[in-house]
């Protein structure tokens, strides 16, 4: 217990680490808020710059950026009706009408307090449940990890994309990218075409920066000329009576956020929409109809998406399965620092786990401070024209990619992924599953082969494993339900069955 507290306090007692968390949170708020910059983009670029740092320092910065970024999206949602991040879509629905009525300051104040509240709930859940889940996860077999990987990729692909097929395609493409290079089990080359550049594989950070940085910058080119709208902001500290009034709603939304965040493949954006929907149904007498600026509709999604941050860390740290695109990028960071996120992380490196919990808590406190101050500076920075932002993103992406191995070839890869990613985004493919697939692909490959070897290469035995063990059975059923509900298989099967019934 005392040891745990000591680990928790690492981030709190070192001034340099406190400074890094504060800087991370501060920049995160702006990155999340400036339309065109995203947390995923920032984290991918940051990882390439910080991988030579001490792991604690890198994590302190990334924890701050993650928290600040998820929150920052709400500010532009309220002020400009542009959700800075997908997790702020619901916030825009209620926040912008509030701002138009001249209550922007109060709306920002309320979202800040509720975001921080949600954040604490998520962190608490992480601290309480991760050790339990981690112990439980020690019982997981190779096949269970294979199943978790597939479920995670498919969930990200189907919940956010245009169609199941596009999600599956993107995920499989990612897995394929992850396969390039020497096979870790037999040292045989895969897709190397005799080139030494490909033997080491395609660096996934190059893929991340390409898909989230350059591709996004190219998408942003379409909205180059959209002018910014200015809002008047006055009182920003929310009324205590308001905070008290929405306490239970925020608590419930945080619960939803934590659980959704903890599911592999679902993150803050879905958590926010679900919590918004829940608030809509559970609020009997809103002061105004939903969609026209109700505070309930503002509180719920904001509490939920920040709670999802803590939640998303649970599967990432205990199972090694990232919850969403940002945690997929962070998992990449952990790998780069030589760490193995998974059930053994808590056993082998408990100090790291508790350090993350401590840093997240600290980031949340800084969020409260920065969230309630500096609004004047904020409105200035957000008006930064995209004509300046887009070239900057590209330069940072190029330098970031180069920094990984000082290899210009990586930069060419990054650019290729950027252009392909632009077309994929344009035609309704999600790029999140590609990254998830790239990260999880090698893990799934080795787990598949281990499970197959355990079944003595007998396919029947291999398949039997998926249903003969309670944990595997639950995961298999979850996967089957997902496949049936997301594809046209089930309606087709049903119509065939009813036809048969009718004819008999």
């Amino acid at each position: 217990m005392l040891e745990t507290l000591g680990f928790l306090a690492i981030a709190w007692t070192d001034p340099w680490l406190i400074f890094l968390v504060a800087t991370g949170t501060f920049t995160g708020i702006y990155i999340g808020a400036i339309p065109g910059l995203s947390v995923t983009m920032a984290t991918s670029i940051l990882i390439s710059f910080t991988f030579k740092w001490d792991v604690n320092e890198a994590l302190a910065l990334i924890c701050g950026v993650f928290f600040g970024g998820v929150y920052g999206g709400s500010r532009t949602a309220i002020l400009l009706n542009i959700p800075g991040a997908p997790s702020a879509i619901a916030t825009a629905i209620e926040g912008y009408p509030l701002a138009k009525r001249g209550e922007a300051g109060e709306a920002i104040g309320l979202t800040t307090v509720m975001s921080v509240f949600g954040g604490f709930v998520g962190i608490l859940a992480l601290a309480l449940f991760a050790p339990v889940i981690s112990e439980f996860a020690l019982m997981f077999q190779s096949r269970d990890y294979l199943l978790l990987g597939v479920i995670g990729i498919l969930l990200v692909g189907t919940l956010s994309g245009e169609s199941f097929a596009k999600g599956a395609f993107a995920g499989a493409l990612g897995v394929l990218i992850g396969m390039v290079g020497l096979d870790p089990m037999t040292a045989e080359g895969r897709f190397t075409f005799g080139s030494i550049h490909l033997l080491g594989g395609i660096p996934y950070v190059a893929a991340m920066i390409g898909f989230f940085g350059v591709a996004e910058a190219l998408v942003q080119l379409h909205t180059l000329d959209t002018p910014a709208i200015k809002q008047k902001i006055d009182r920003i500290i929310p009324k205590f009576s308001d905070v008290k009034k929405y306490f239970w709603l925020a608590l419930r939304a945080s619960g939803i956020g934590t659980i959704i965040g903890a599911l592999p493949g679902t993150g803050g954006d879905i958590a926010a929409l679900l919590a918004y929907d829940d608030a809509k149904r559970s609020t009997k007498n809103p002061e105004r109809p939903f969609g026209t600026g109700t505070r309930e509709g503002l509180v719920a999604p904001e509490a939920a998406n920040n709670a999802a941050v803590g939640g998303a860390h649970i599967p990432m740290l205990t199972l090694g399965i990232p919850g969403d695109a940002v945690t997929a990028v962070i998992i990449g960071a952990l790998f780069i620092h030589g760490l193995k996120p998974g059930p053994l992380l808590l056993v082998d490196t408990p100090h790291l786990f508790w350090f993350i919990v401590g840093a997240l808590t600290l980031a949340n406190i800084f969020l409260l401070i920065f969230g309630l101050t500096g609004i004047r500076l904020f409105t200035k920075i957000v008006e930064c024209p995209k004509a300046v932002l887009i070239p900057l993103i590209i330069v940072l992406s190029a330098v970031g990619t180069y920094a990984i191995q000082n290899n210009p070839v990586d930069v060419y890869w990054m650019l290729l992924f950027g252009v392909v990613g632009y077309f994929m985004k344009t035609y309704g493919f999600q790029v999140g599953p590609v990254i998830l697939g790239t990260i999880l692909g090698p893990m799934m490959d080795s787990n598949y082969r281990r499970a197959m070897i355990r079944a003595r290469q007998d396919t029947g035995d291999f398949l039997w494993q998926f249903v003969s063990n309670p944990i595997s059975l639950i995961l298999t059923v979850a996967l089957v339900i997902m496949l049936l509900s997301q594809t046209p298989l089930w309606p087709k099967l049903r119509s065939v069955l009813t036809m048969r019934k009718d004819s008999s």
Partner: protein
């Protein structure tokens, strides 16, 4: 670009077709790794992945082909998806990453930033020059001094930048 209706976007069919051809090629290459010689060979998972790509690619192709074609008066591929702005900017970026190894980070970035700012913003060239200098100075200080990133030095001007 912002088309969310059921209609097909310009160039969509072609893109999906290219992706499908790529998937088939990837499957063929995956097969070439170890064929069907065993269930735990290095080629099995790549074949599974590319197989999923081929199947889902076919489904997407059928779905896209079934959509109504873009209307005759709808903006074309080059007006809506790959605009002149995109082509020029991508051209700048390609040039940027190609000259970076020889010119080094500072000069190539300065050239790129200036061209891109000028092209996208179209303001007073002196102002753009100033903007380039300021942003580049910030990037250089932050990344060279704070993050201690090794920036490309450039073979042509070795030692100067």
């Amino acid at each position: 670009m912002t088309n969310t209706s059921a209609g097909r976007r310009p160039g969509e069919l072609f893109f999906v077709l290219v992706m499908l051809v790529f998937s088939v090629g990837a499957f063929w290459q995956a097969y070439a790794i170890s064929g069907f010689s065993g269930k735990t060979t290095p080629g099995v998972f790549p074949m599974l992945a590319s197989g999923v790509m081929v199947i889902s690619g076919l489904v997407i192709l059928v779905n896209v082909a079934r959509m109504p074609a873009p209307a005759a008066d709808a903006p074309s591929f080059f007006a809506d998806i790959l605009t002149l702005r995109h082509i020029v900017l991508i051209g700048f970026v390609v040039g940027y990453v190609l000259v970076m190894p020889s010119l080094g980070f500072v000069i190539s970035s300065a050239l790129f930033l200036y061209c891109a700012f000028q092209f996208l913003w179209r303001k007073n060239p002196v102002l753009m020059l100033g903007l380039t200098a300021v942003t580049l100075a910030i990037i250089y200080l932050v990344f060279r001094e704070v993050f201690q990133v090794v920036l490309p030095q450039g073979t042509l001007l070795q030692g100067y930048f």
